[in-house]
């Protein structure tokens, strides 16, 4: 009981203090357009959720995320497995990957707008591009970093090449794949907001821009809060998947 209290109390106290500071500053400024007080933001958030457009925005953002992340992570995974299998492909692709990897997803926004116009293809493309590299790099490292001793032991015990892949290579690569998936999701999430804000006509990021144009700062703040909540939830989800799938692995202990 005491221990639970000691764990929960500090964040609660800090959170209350932050809310207090926010409330005090907004009361001193007395300008709800410049800094809406917490209560106004909470009311705006509930209002948007119950009878506003926020659910539509969340759904279109999640659609962008699902399409872009599915394509980008899938491509990264497939490329990594192919590159590990065929070293020649790796050598051909490597310089191209090294050329594009330092160019962050966000630098592609103008080009994506030029290519697709202002549409939901821009966030989908950006999310896919952002998700591609982290998962490619970590998966490749995971597949290549398989303990050679385990492979030899498997072969010595008579495992077929196919069994080696399913019973040795895949299990030891999965922790890497999952940490790559989590990294990718973080990058993709940031890219999604940036792309929606600058080059899309739907989604949470676009809605920020929209409410800014109407100078509804309470709603801008409400959307920002919602972006944070969804981002935390997505991260928790992947962490849960990770714990369920690879709780056993030694990599998991320090990767967590």
């Amino acid at each position: 009981m005491m221990r639970v209290f000691a764990r929960i109390a500090p964040p609660l106290v800090f959170g209350a203090a932050m809310l207090g500071v926010w409330q005090a500053v907004s009361a001193i400024l007395a300008n709800p357009e410049l800094l809406p007080p917490p209560r106004t933001v909470a009311v705006a958030l509930i209002d948007l959720l119950l009878n506003g457009d926020m659910l539509d925005d969340i759904i279109s953002s999640l659609q962008h995320l699902a399409m872009g992340y599915g394509a980008g992570a899938g491509l990264g995974l497939a490329l990594a497995v192919l590159c590990a299998r065929f070293p020649l492909l790796m050598r051909v692709l490597d310089p191209v990957v090294e050329l594009f990897r330092p160019i962050g997803a966000i630098a592609w926004i103008p080009f994506a707008i030029l290519m697709f116009g202002v549409s939901s293809s821009v966030p989908v493309f950006l999310i896919g591009y952002g998700a591609l590299f982290p998962i490619f790099v970590t998966t490749l490292a995971g597949v290549r970093g398989v303990d050679a001793g385990l492979l030899r032991a498997g072969a010595a015990l008579g495992a077929s090449p196919r069994m080696l892949v399913t019973h040795v290579v895949l299990p030891s690569a999965i922790p890497h794949v999952l940490s790559g998936a989590r990294l990718s999701l973080g990058v993709a999430w940031a890219a999604m907001i940036a792309a929606e804000l600058t080059g899309s006509d739907s989604g949470l990021g676009w809605r920020l821009f929209w409410y800014q144009e109407f100078f509804r700062m309470d709603r801008v703040a409400a959307v920002i809060v919602m972006i944070g909540v969804l981002g935390v939830m997505a991260d928790l989800l992947l962490r849960g998947v990770r714990r369920a799938v690879v709780g056993w692995s030694p990599e998991d202990q320090h990767a967590r």
Partner: protein
């Protein structure tokens, strides 16, 4: 052996040739950067100094934001590492803030700091401060506890322990933290300037690389210049990475 070394240049070269052929075939029109056009665009923009000065202004903003971020983030992370209650209080909020993409703050940053470039600095600061604080925290936690215990057994007070054990011990991780967050800062500058700059009229006084890309996109639709800007974004992030790595080797030679 010689043939192996040829693979990388051949791969890059064939990419360039493929682009050029696509341009000559005019497919899709105006969307594919041509290598020859990129050379011409580089010459033009370097000669009239638009490209170097745009990069310099963006770098200035990144540096300013990064310096503000170190002043906030490093002490916060150190404090979190030294005082567990602070870590418990602040940790969940940092995790929550991390889920809010830097770009989401643009409407509020523009409202508070105007469109003159200060808003971009704020975004960059935000992008850099969280990774700095979190890795400084990790750095302090990963210090060998026996060293601290040995120091206190030899009579070192808390201040001496901090200066002589904790700070030197966390230098390698602090350097890594700086490298990573500098990368984040540079990665978000383009979007910040893009989102801020589109509204001011991009050719205004303090145009950085993001504003230059916005202008190229919206007023000239010049895909060659856009590609050059993207390559420069990538090159600068490689250069930052390289500089920070060599700085790390100079400051903490014992890690090699």
């Amino acid at each position: 052996m010689r043939a192996d070394r040829l693979i990388a240049p051949v791969s890059l070269l064939s990419l360039l040739v493929a682009l050029q052929v696509l341009v000559w075939l005019a497919f899709p029109p105006g969307l594919v950067p041509s290598p020859l056009g990129m050379l011409r665009a580089t010459r033009d923009h370097v000669q009239d100094l638009t490209l170097p000065s745009a990069i310099a202004r963006s770098l200035g903003r990144v540096l300013a934001g990064f310096l503000i971020a170190t002043v906030i983030g490093l002490p916060l992370g150190l404090l979190m590492g030294l005082v567990p209650a602070v870590a418990r209080a602040v940790g969940p909020f940092l995790d929550g803030l991390r889920a809010i993409a830097p770009i989401a703050w643009i409407p509020i940053a523009v409202l508070w700091f105007g469109v003159t470039g200060n808003a971009a600095i704020v975004i960059v600061t935000y992008a850099a401060v969280l990774p700095l604080a979190l890795s400084a925290y990790q750095g302090v936690r990963l210090i060998d506890h026996r060293l601290i215990q040995a120091a206190s057994m030899l009579g070192a007070g808390p201040m001496l322990r901090l200066v002589a054990v904790v700070l030197p011990g966390s230098i390698p991780i602090l350097i890594t933290a700086c490298r990573l967050s500098m990368g984040f800062a540079w990665g978000s500058i383009v979007a910040a300037e893009l989102a801020v700059g589109v509204k001011v009229g991009p050719s205004g006084g303090g145009a950085g690389i993001g504003q230059m890309m916005a202008e190229t996109l919206f007023t000239r639709r010049d895909v060659d210049t856009l590609a050059i800007c993207m390559l420069c974004v990538g090159l600068v992030s490689l250069a930052i990475d390289y500089l920070m790595r060599s700085l790390g080797r100079t400051l903490s030679p014992w890690t090699q």
